[in-house]
């Protein structure tokens, strides 16, 4: 399905801030997140634990911790401002227009309710139709996500299903109301490697079939490279780089993106073994306000001036966006090292 980038975006977020008051001061988890997402598009949000990638999507659905305070310059979904939305209005959007797939299928299904009940109740809660209609749709979707004997499965409990099957059920639940947007928060992290690829390709297939927008949250840039249209790299509560998936992964501009790409181990039988690459240092504390680039302590390209001013948001000719003190040309030259093959080229985008 072709994405119409001329149309207004389905999701438009600018300057999203979120902070949680703690005894040690405000924990500023999101420090100005901007992204846009179009109908039918897949955006991968990539970052380390604590970068704010999950929190930003929870804030989108109004599922962030109640004591957190959220502000944004702009936060619209399907042309509607969702920032100041009342609880009941947000509830009507959740599960209906925007659905979420959580990380661990072993714990995200209620152990005491049948699979069928958990599918049907979403449909009924949004007044989509009768119970009989809901049951029919549940069976259709279970079959569509690759579960055989769907009718019998409806009466089963989560503990009677394997992890892979449970994640398929969670996906079917997300699809019950035919949402415009699905947020998948590390949907394959808790699964066996053999099942991961199946679930990812299923998601991609369903997205194209139903024409939904998909936000795929992951810590693994290798996993998302094959199915995302665009990638947003998050670090310490901001997006440090975003752009087309191919470009960002093959020619990263921001030093952090470069580090992430280099960290992906490559399996090439017969080749010499290289030591695993890491990014030195740890994610900075998010307590309180800060000045300068938050990546500077781990950055190989850091200058003294990085501590003085916040890095400017720069936009390249091809529409990529990055936050760094260096210019595109400088970063480009710095990263182009001879005899270094493009990472994750093998098995990249089909």
């Amino acid at each position: 399905m072709a994405i119409d980038y001329g149309a207004p975006p389905l999701l438009d977020i600018a300057g999203l801030h979120l902070s949680i008051p703690t005894s040690g001061g405000d924990l500023r988890v999101l420090r100005g997140v901007d992204y846009q997402l179009w109908q039918g598009e897949t955006l991968a949000v990539v970052g380390e634990s604590g970068s704010g990638k999950s929190v930003s999507s929870l804030a989108l659905m109004g599922l962030h911790p109640r004591r957190a305070s959220v502000s944004a310059e702009r936060m619209t979904f399907d042309g509607q401002n969702i920032l100041g939305l009342s609880r009941p209005a947000l509830r009507k959007l959740r599960g209906n227009q925007m659905a979420m797939i959580f990380q661990d299928p072993m714990t995200s299904l209620n152990p005491v309710l049948t699979i069928g009940e958990q599918l049907v109740e979403t449909y009924s809660a949004h007044g989509k139709g009768s119970r009989a209609q809901a049951t029919e749709r549940a069976i259709y979707l279970l079959e569509r996500v690759g579960i055989r004997n769907a009718r019998e499965r409806l009466g089963q409990y989560p503990h009677q299903l394997s992890g892979g099957l449970r994640q398929r059920v969670v996906i079917a639940i997300a699809l019950m109301c035919n949402p415009k947007l699905i947020i998948a928060d590390e949907p394959t992290t808790a699964l066996d490697v053999t099942v991961q690829a199946l679930i990812l390709s299923l998601l991609k297939e369903l997205q194209e079939e139903f024409g939904m927008a998909l936000i795929l949250i992951s810590h693994d840039i290798g996993v998302v490279s094959s199915i995302a249209d665009r990638v947003a790299i998050m670090y310490a509560g901001t997006i440090v780089e975003s752009g087309g998936a191919d470009e960002v992964i093959h020619e990263p501009l921001h030093p952090y993106t470069r580090g992430l790409v280099d960290c992906v181990p490559r399996l090439r039988p017969g080749r010499e073994r290289k030591p695993l690459v890491t990014i030195p240092g740890i994610v900075p504390s998010l307590l309180g306000p800060s000045r300068g680039c938050l990546f500077r302590n781990r950055c190989p390209k850091a200058l003294d001036t990085c501590a003085m001013t916040d890095p400017a948001v720069q936009r390249t000719a091809s529409g990529r966006v990055f936050r760094c003190i260096h210019s595109e040309a400088v970063l480009h030259a710095a990263h182009t090292r001879p005899a270094d093959p493009a990472p994750v080229a093998a098995g990249g985008r089909a």
Binding site: R94, A99, F102, S108, P111, V112
Partner: protein, 305 residues
């Protein structure tokens, strides 16, 4: 489910046998019954005759099996004081005690569960603290004191309720308030902590993400998971109410099982004491069995284990 029920039933049977032996032995070990029955200053001959008359001179095992066989035939012995069949006396006392016990538990749960859910929905707010204060007050008030205060206030001053006996439903109101208040706090605290644990789980976050209304998330998704320990606790509370309401029954002059037990102990009416002991043990075992079955019905995973 059937297999699980049979398994539990067999287990309950063995527990009942074990309890009957231990309780039988404890009563025999509490002192020489024949000496106590013969009274102060009795001669050795009188004590020997007393032992012979009640079969206390026979070996313990013989006494136990004699008692067991007669019990299985529905004969729990005869009261030494009233000379009536023990079974008859117990059956007379059970209905009023059972009525009060079930009403008290029902009332306690009717308050404990909603309050526990509300406290968990607003943790560490003034609502939570108010509910906690209520629980502490309920637990801290001794039952005899509360019974006397209610008697004086509702019975003597306002003359709304009768203060003694068990003839009409009005007679049961004050005992139910007192006993309900004494078991409510623990059930409420258990509901609250169970709810707090459950509300943290991933499937609750998922339920919110599905756009379900709050009452569905709390009562259908969370409470069913949180209620399991409350069910087990209810069985124990009910056992306590059926057997341990001695003080309340005495204050309100209710001829229930608690008062019968208390009087029989004072009269050294050992066949009655023994029968009540077994009756209450079996009630406990039965209630625990019921609680296990309810939990298995609530949580499908239990049947598998």
């Amino acid at each position: 489910m059937i297999n699980y029920a049979i398994q539990r039933l067999i287990l309950a049977f063995f527990v009942a046998v074990a309890v009957s032996i231990i309780a039988f032995a404890l009563l025999r070990l509490s002192g020489d019954l024949a000496m106590v029955l013969a009274g102060d200053g009795a001669t050795d001959e009188e004590v020997r005759q007393m032992a012979e008359r009640h079969g206390l001179d026979r070996p313990f095992v013989v006494q136990y099996f004699d008692w067991l066989i007669r019990m299985l035939q529905g004969d729990l012995g005869t009261s030494l004081f009233t000379h009536r069949p023990t079974m008859e006396m117990i059956l007379e006392a059970v209905p009023v005690t059972a009525k009060i016990a079930f009403l008290s538990l029902g009332a306690a749960l009717a308050f404990a569960i909603p309050l526990g859910v509300i406290a968990a929905a607003y943790p560490n707010t003034w609502i939570d603290r108010a509910v906690l204060a209520l629980a502490v007050a309920g637990k801290a008030m001794p039952t005899f004191w509360m019974a006397l205060v209610l008697m004086y206030w509702l019975g003597v001053q306002l003359r709304w309720l009768p203060i003694s006996g068990s003839a009409t439903w009005q007679h049961l109101v004050m005992p139910v308030i007192v006993l309900g208040t004494s078991v409510m706090p623990q059930l409420m605290r258990l509901t609250r902590s169970g709810m707090l644990d459950t509300l943290e789980s991933d499937f609750i976050r998922m339920a919110w993400a599905k756009g379900l209304p709050a009452h569905v998330v709390f009562f259908k998704h969370a409470l069913r998971n949180a209620i399991l320990p409350v069910v087990a606790m209810s069985a124990i509370s009910l056992g306590f109410l059926l057997g341990g309401a001695v003080i309340v029954e005495a204050i309100f002059s209710i001829n229930g099982i608690g008062l019968l037990a208390y009087r029989s102990i004072l009269r050294i009416d050992f066949p009655v004491v023994q029968a009540i002991l077994f009756f209450l043990s079996f009630v406990y075992i039965f209630l625990t069995l019921i609680a296990d079955l309810i939990n298995a019905w609530l949580d499908p995973r239990i049947k598998v284990k």
